[in-house]
Subunit: 414 residues, 3 copies
């Protein structure tokens, strides 16, 4: 999937995004939204749509020394059309390189100013003789649409968990084709049985896409109880969970718990107001319980936003590991509840309800019985099952199973 | 006292409890309560009363190979009557041993199911030849009563401190004859002068006894401000204080303070919903400020619930030490108050009230004067004397004495 | 300035205080207050005014062996007049020495009891032969006034910051001529541009002076938002900031931040109800956000309250350093605000407001841009700029500048 998505030239608008969503749609059904240029979205306006057919720099012999067909990174995102011939000295003002990594091509954009430009390897630039060059950017920047898509896994309740990943970056594998892939397979895994929450997956361009989604879903926001932004999900580094702005949102506690319990090496980071679309979900007016899961985080590796973030940079094992953690976390999140002990004065007599008998043949009977006592004692409307698991040191599943048994016996209510 | 109590066969009901309370009653006056079988108490029902005259396993020659007269532990608690002859193979299903400690006899009960059984040393069992054995349990399980007792040390106020210890275990010295003994002598010590609080000592069978007491004292619960469950009070291990469910109840703070100040090696444990009758007092509907003091805690030593918890396992010094800590803690608890500074704007002039003069001849005058400033500054209705002692680093008694002097001068009120 | 103030004989009342304030008044304009003896101030009464012309002990030859003219420390503060001849044995009851520091003269007072006495070096005393001595204290203790002064640096708002230093100690350089000097130059520095807050400097005798000020400014107290007591500001030790009683007052957070950011070795101490006039400002009825800045704190050096706290004991560099920290702290305090993001749903588009452009040419553009995102995200009415600086790890000034730019663009309001 990542290999198929890799060559496409994505940006915050245009046909590259549509082609990307079409491929994702082969794995999970998507509802695609098209929002017209000029639409007011929160403090922003949907920009004109950008499309590009070709772009190159050719030398005097007509040879393309920089060619968009070789990599979508070669053109500055949102370049306005240009067709001209100019000396190298004049052209340089439009060229972007990475002097520290002379073999790599940087990724650059300039969405909101009428510029054009090319990105290339420093060593390519160094090899160019002086002289006249033909430059061509065959792009269009016209009124059109911003495109994003949603996929919903219906749950038992209307309360939602959102999973968001940006789809606006061109040929960068880790950022964010890996995130798109993990989100897609996470959606399929969640649908295996009806979850408690409704899970909404959002595939949208960064910043303006999240802002557009927020603007068009104002009435839904109150139903969004938890969320996760997925990015940089495929490199070989350790996992990093960046907490929501609240820091103690349930998703924060669940992710911390699952990462610690899994004994994977990992890092938990405080919220910062830059990074990916958690910036928008966690802006102070919304302040949603939305964290962000990456492997090596935003701007944390030299290959970040360069041509070195290619298919070799990501691994199937790393993506599978990210997916596994997401599944573990949502398994906890989906079962976590606050219960109320309906018999809170003294311990209820478990024996006569068969809650001791039922455990007789099980090897983990003692742990299961302890879990019942913990759930009964802390089901005061304030403590969640995750609280009980953390306080008791018992596995979350044991605690949740105990709660299920007590609920079945009418001793607690949700 | 422990030696006299040791041979008695106690259970959650029956004459063993009555005989135990009779002996305790020789030390402190007790009010004994008899609650009829079938009485509804919270979620439970008072069970039938169990009494036992004799029990044994005899071999073909009539020799008693397991004999209740040798130790009350040999019979499974609440065994129904039986009189039969059966081969060893069939008898085994009713025998309980400790393979890991072949010389010890385990303590086992089965209060709420109609079973019978014997507890014996593994090495005794191993020495039994196959063949027919006569088994006899001469017990009665009939409508009767559950028995518990109270002793009250009247205080200056009706607010109560409860001290509870379970009296249902048969011949186990540390669990809980040591607790009974410490409680008894603590009650005598508190009566030496009229305490501030009213102290209520509860001698009741575990679980069902505490539940019965709670059920019959619903109107009193609001007056119970603090409490302590005493158990395993006599072994040679360090002290362990298990905090109340609240974790920051005044008794928790007092015990932590006193144990730390005393420089005894000790452990402070978080609340867990198993252990002794703090389970009931700290159930979420009551959530009383009741902690539990033991030496080695619940199930924390191999001798726990075996014949090795015998008179040698406990020491008078350990019991005296437990008693001393209880006295120190209650001395703090009983004097701890929140005062209100009646002259809170600037410092009041202590000199003209003779509060400097009065200190002139004392070697600890400087500390006493500091204590006055601390009490004045923090008597804002929110900080207790214990808060002041902890924050200032001054001894609690110095702080309490300063509060007394300031109260005498009319500068603070309770 | 310290050299000129040093010889004066100050006490809690009298002409020494007036002369001191006259010298301070040459640097900054002062409003001097005279409060009559007998005035009721909170729980206290303004005492009689004490003045002294001369005091000595002379031997049989008429030679002055202890002479007030040599040092104002030689006479017990508030000594009543005496003119007598007595044997050394009788005189000893009125003599105060420091046996552990035989060359030093102690500083002693007895404001509220009719006594007289002399302070002298132990070695001076040891050298005195037995015999008759003439003692003379030519003092007056009569109805008069308590004198204190204020200097105000007017700000943009009526909310006040108070800076207080005691002016009642005689010839002790560090305690508190250094504090008086730092306060004076701090006032001059603050006046260089109109500060946000109004800064009120209080030069008053210790304890009774602060109590008098508080009593006479009851209606002003609500406007006092922050404050600092300056004392022992000139010795060569590290800085110590003693927190207000609240512990989390804004002045506490500012001082902790500035001291930590400055990387000066320093200590932050908890509030204690003794020390200097923070005792009064932080009494529970007022509970003002007033901390105390010293170098080596109250009673923390052997020279404390002795003749060794002389001009050599303080250094201009140390006073300049204390002054610098005060200026840094007030620079933060004065700019610290809670803002409200007026565009809190998603990030506002900074680019179209020129907030990206305006940064283009600056080398710290990235940090400035980050600061804007931080200020926007945390301007929720709960977080101050100092909170943002601490959470982001960005310098306070960068954060405050970003807030200024955002305020200018109408994106946040105070």
């Amino acid at each position: 999937m990542v290999e198929r998505l890799y060559p496409l030239c994505r940006s915050i608008t245009g046909d590259g995004v549509r082609a990307t969503l079409e491929i994702v749609g082969e794995y999970i059904p998507l509802k695609v939204h098209e929002v017209p240029t000029g639409t007011q979205v929160l403090d922003w306006t949907v920009p004109r749509e950008w499309n590009i057919r070709d772009a190159y720099i050719a030398d005097a012999t007509g040879r393309r020394v920089v060619d968009f067909r070789a990599s979508s990174l070669h053109v500055l995102g949102y370049s306005v059309p240009v067709s001209a011939t100019m000396p190298l000295a004049e052209l340089r003002a439009h060229l972007h390189t990475l002097p520290d990594h002379p073999a790599w091509v940087p990724y650059r954009t300039n969405y909101y100013q009428p510029e054009w430009g090319f990105c290339l390897a420093q060593e390519t630039l160094d090899a160019l003789p002086d002289g006249e060059y033909e430059v061509c950017v065959d792009s269009t920047l016209t009124d059109g649409h911003l495109t994003y898509a949603e996929h919903v896994v219906p749950g038992q309740v209307a309360d939602e968990v959102i999973v968001s990943c940006h789809v606006c970056h061109p040929s960068l594998a880790n950022d964010n084709l890996a995130g798109i892939a993990v989100a897609t397979f996470l959606a399929r895994a969640l649908a295996e049985r009806t979850p408690y929450y409704t899970y909404r997956f959002i595939f949208a361009p960064g910043t303006i896409g999240a802002i557009t989604w927020l603007a068009r879903n104002a009435e839904r926001i109150d139903r969004v109880k938890h969320g996760l932004v997925l990015a940089c999900a495929g490199d070989r580094g350790h996992l990093t969970y960046k907490q929501s702005r609240r820091g103690d949102a349930e998703i924060d506690r669940v992710m911390r718990h699952v990462l610690a319990a899994s004994e994977r090496p990992h890092r938990v980071a405080e919220f910062t107001p830059y990074g990916y679309d958690e910036r928008q979900f966690c802006s102070p007016g919304f302040d949603l319980g939305v964290g962000s899961l990456t492997r090596t985080p935003y701007a944390g590796y030299p290959e970040y936003h360069t041509s070195a973030d290619n298919l070799d940079f990501v691994s199937p094992e790393a993506m599978a590991d990210t997916l596994a953690v997401c599944r573990e976390a949502f398994a906890v999140l989906d079962r976590d509840r606050r219960y109320l002990n309906l018999s809170p004065y003294g311990e209820p007599q478990l024996g006569r309800r068969g809650l001791y008998d039922s455990l007789g043949g099980r090897s983990d009977a003692k742990q299961a019985q302890m879990a019942m006592l913990w759930v009964l004692n802390f089901s005061d409307g304030e403590h969640s099952l995750l609280d009980v698991a953390e306080r008791s040191g018992l596995p979350f599943d044991t605690v949740a199973d105990a709660a299920g048994a007590l609920h079945g016996a009418g001793l607690i209510k949700a």
